[in-house]
């Protein structure tokens, strides 16, 4: 194994120490529950429906950064790039029940699905009302006719915000489930990688790419993907990604779009803004409107260089919920 050139202590302590630091840094927003790697919002809901997700660590601020009032009630955290076990997810869901049930969002990756389904079985056995909703949005990972095979990626952030805002006041779990599905079904994302990140536990680069090539469709764990090509200008790359996205989503003139441009870890804000400039130009050229975008680092893969673009075709209800204020550590004021 290679030397790990990162600010860590012992590789077995990475997740625990990160969570300790996170809770210490945001004492007004979040807490950690005893004995489990579960981050919960500080002020527990008294109405509405619980909203929870589990995920592997190493992608911060996803997803711990969006726990708090107006977004997620809890996040069950696993190992580095590994979904948490069913016990951890169980605790996160149980803690988040205010009496109206809890929705467990599941980002579509094998580990997340298996552990979440086991947790749901345990919860239902124990009489806790819990519903699982699988989220998927990465259009590179499966064709549109098999969209439920697509993996969960940047587009899941739309759900944390919009369904999170909705679940804050709506106490009918079925209505909240419908909202989660609606958001999921109107979101899509695509990513492009330039350089790999390094695993904090093995010290190894997470994939290989020839010096002057890029890869479109790279997964958030640096899974090698479908299409490689020579490095192009920012505008050309954005055009390719945008075309793929609007075709897949069937977008047309008059549609309201919420765009997210996400840096994967070492892509600079400078580059992200150059990318967003072009993305907004394309949206407007096609007669669509871009509503309150997010541009920054949201779902990272260590110091991977690359970016992802997620688009949501939003109706007025989704726009209103997107705009509502929230109190979480890492969602910007819009």
């Amino acid at each position: 194994m290679a030397t790990v050139k990162k600010f860590i202590n012992n590789d077995r302590d990475i997740v625990g120490e990160m969570l300790e630091g996170f809770v210490a840094a945001f004492p007004n927003h979040v807490e950690k529950i005893d004995d489990y790697d579960v981050i919960v919002r500080k002020d527990k809901k008294t109405e509405g429906v619980g909203l929870v997700i589990g995920n592997g660590a190493g992608h911060e601020p996803a997803v711990i950064g969006w726990v708090g009032d107006g977004m997620l009630d809890a996040n069950a955290v696993g190992g580095i790039f590994a979904a948490p076990g069913p016990d951890t997810i169980y605790q996160a869901v149980k803690h988040s029940d205010s009496g109206n049930g809890v929705i467990l969002l599941i980002s579509n990756h094998a580990g997340d699905v298996i552990n979440s389904e086991m947790a749901l079985e345990m919860l239902i056995e124990d009489g806790i009302q819990a519903e699982g909703i699988i989220l998927y949005d990465d259009i590179a990972s499966a064709p549109k006719e098999f969209s439920e095979d697509r993996r969960g990626a940047l587009g899941t952030l739309f759900n944390y915000k919009i369904t999170g805002a909705y679940a804050e006041k709506e106490s009918d779990i079925h209505k909240v489930c419908e909202m989660a599905k609606k958001v999921r079904n109107h979101a899509a994302s695509l990513s492009v990688a330039l350089l790999p990140g390094t695993s904090p536990v093995t010290g190894e680069k997470m994939f290989e790419l020839p010096e002057n090539e890029i890869e479109i469709g790279m997964g958030v764990h640096g899974e090698a993907a479908v299409g490689r090509m020579k490095l192009k200008s920012a505008d050309e790359i954005v055009e390719i990604m945008y075309e793929r996205l609007i075709q897949d989503m069937g977008l047309k003139s008059g549609d309201q779009i919420i765009p997210i441009v996400n840096g994967c870890g070492s892509t600079t804000m400078m580059e992200l803004m150059i990318v967003y400039r072009k993305l907004q130009m394309l949206i407007q050229e096609n007669g669509m409107t871009a509503h309150k975008p997010l541009v920054g680092e949201f779902v990272t893969t260590q110091e991977m260089a690359g970016l992802s673009i997620a688009l949501l075709k939003a109706d007025d209800e989704m726009i209103k919920l997107w705009d509502e204020s929230c109190k979480v550590p890492y969602f910007p004021a819009l």
Partner: protein
């Protein structure tokens, strides 16, 4: 027929094997996955080792506890699937004083069914199933022929090894490797490698206990 197997000693040997193979399993995972499979297995089996060290229960309960610890500490897809092997095996061993070829076959067969159901995988998907499934078939054949447990385990290990070899020609359709498509060909599956190591460790220990 059959004999008592000291499950605690057997499981502690298995724990050691996964600690010894940490780097090797990471390497096997690095071609098509994110290269941390060995670390995940090491984390799980270290936790099992700690748990068992102070535990004094009946043989099947060690097996059950191992399943529970692996499920909660490994994480990812592999955690619950690896845990399932021991959880299912413990159900078979619970009713038995002695372990024989049939008990081993039933345990492995139940584990296989559960892994396929929970992981939604089948033979040929380039997963741990491709090592376990031929091993189960070998155990069934051994059972039908009345083969002794030690020899049956030899046959299971050999079948699993051949199954592992065949994963090199398979295209991954599950886990992170699936996004590689055809590019996942040429590499043996990391989960199937672990499955072989597990079966070998069990075989070696059972032979050692017989002396």
């Amino acid at each position: 027929m059959g004999r008592k197997v000291d499950m605690k000693a057997l499981l502690l040997d298995v724990c050691q094997v996964f600690q010894d193979n940490r780097d090797y399993l990471c390497k096997m995972d690095s071609f098509t996955g994110d290269g941390d499979h060995g670390i995940s297995m090491d984390r799980g089996f270290r936790a099992v080792q700690e748990e068992l060290a102070t535990l004094e229960v009946s043989d099947w309960q060690y097996v059950k506890r191992t399943g529970r610890v692996l499920t909660s500490t490994i994480g990812g897809a592999i955690g619950p699937l690896m845990g399932m092997i021991f959880t299912e095996a413990s159900k078979v061993f619970e009713a038995k004083d002695a372990i024989d070829t049939e008990a081993v076959y039933l345990a492995a067969d139940k584990a296989l069914s559960s892994i396929k159901r929970l992981g939604r995988v089948k033979e040929g998907d380039k997963t741990m199933v491709d090592a376990l499934s031929p091993a189960v078939q070998a155990l069934k054949d051994a059972c039908d022929r009345g083969t002794e447990m030690e020899e049956a385990l030899d046959m299971a290990v050999e079948a699993a090894r051949q199954g592992l070899e065949r994963t090199k020609d398979m295209v991954a359709v599950k886990g992170r490797a699936k996004f590689l498509g055809e590019r996942s060909k040429g590499y043996q599956d990391a989960g199937a490698t672990s499955m072989c190591l597990l079966l070998e460790a069990i075989r070696d220990h059972v032979k050692k206990q017989k002396g």
